[in-house]
């Protein structure tokens, strides 16, 4: 297996004490560098991370997933030798094998960022309502169509140092996925996507982003201010 010491996994964690240690341990078998950003969890997630072999960065208060990803990327990009970055969910729904495939492509092809998609192959395992909503998001977003992206709200992304250095997530909550897509098109990062498998375990289903939250995302995105600070 190729040496993965130039790869950093960024894992935003919020109240995942039940599963985070296993997820980290599983990923550590392949990737030596993992940073978990504990986003002010109240359930002992930090303790679980401390014993797991991952780097721990702790938000003193809960800020939201977008903020946690930004923190993790800032931490990882300041580490010596960091060249490739992966955003990886804490609840165990992403597959290490998918990440490896994406990294292989990122190293070989002239692209800056690869986004996971659930819709390239067979999508029947995705719960129906979720499928309809996610497809609607893509259908109404001209930017996604232009970039030929089929799944904007996939948490699995792999990108290089250039993207990590330029990435600036300012929407602290769940709006960050759309913001990343915005920045892909604004900063001209070369993007492609890769079929990934999401494990809809009972645990991740019970926590999953509620669809109502989509309203919040739309609102935040629409009212994004022009101030660039």
């Amino acid at each position: 297996m190729a040496d993965q010491s130039d790869v950093w996994l960024v894992v935003p964690v919020y109240n995942e004490a039940q599963v985070i240690a296993d997820v980290v341990r599983n990923a550590l078998e392949t990737f030596p560098n993992i940073v978990c950003v504990d986003d002010g969890s109240r359930d002992g997630s930090a303790e679980a991370i401390r014993g797991s072999g991952a780097h721990l960065v702790q938000h003193p208060v809960n800020l939201g997933q977008g903020a946690a990803i930004q923190t993790g990327v800032e931490y990882a990009r300041s580490q010596p030798g960091a060249e490739y970055f992966v955003t990886f969910d804490a609840d165990g729904q992403h597959q290490v094998a998918d990440v490896l495939r994406m990294l292989e492509r990122l190293r070989a092809e002239p692209v800056d960022i690869i986004v996971g998609t659930r819709f390239k192959g067979d999508a029947s395992h995705i719960p129906l309502i979720k499928r309809v909503v996610l497809k609607t998001v893509v259908a109404v977003s001209p930017r996604l169509r232009k970039l030929k992206l089929s799944d904007a709200h996939n948490g699995l992304r792999v990108f290089n140092k250039k993207v990590a250095d330029e990435l600036r997530i300012t929407l602290n909550g769940m709006g960050h996925a759309s913001q990343i897509v915005d920045q892909i098109s604004q900063r001209g990062w070369r993007v492609t996507e890769e079929q990934v498998e999401i494990l809809y375990t009972e645990y991740s289903m019970s926590k999953g982003q509620s669809l109502i939250n989509g309203v919040n995302i739309l609102f935040d995105t629409a009212l994004k201010t022009g101030s660039k600070r």
């Binding site: 679980a48 014993g51 991952a54 960065v57 938000h59 003193p60 009212l223």
Partner: protein
Amino acid sequence: MLIQFLLIGTVIVLLVFFLRHHGTTKTAAGVKIGFALFMVLAAVAVLRPADVSKLAEFVGVGRGTDLLLYALVVAFGFATINTYLRFKELELRYARLARAIALRNAEAPKHEDLNVDAEDPARSA
């Protein structure tokens, strides 16, 4: 009716202006001037209600009271958006502050943990 154009026009212009230039000194000054004007108009409306009614008739609203109501609705809407944007901005600064603290206190894994693969004596899940 003239009032319809006026109201919708104001809303659109203010909205675009707000979202594009929020947070600059100019906007802050603009908001203050707008507020002062609003206060002056309020005083005029109290002192000379007949003039307000005349103005209302001119723009196509029945009574001066109705005109005031419309103006109030628009003003309220903008006060709300202004507050919302202010909050967002504060939230962003707050996030940066928290991030700086978090990064300063980052903990690297202890070395024993790295070498242990199968069993982890420090912790069992």
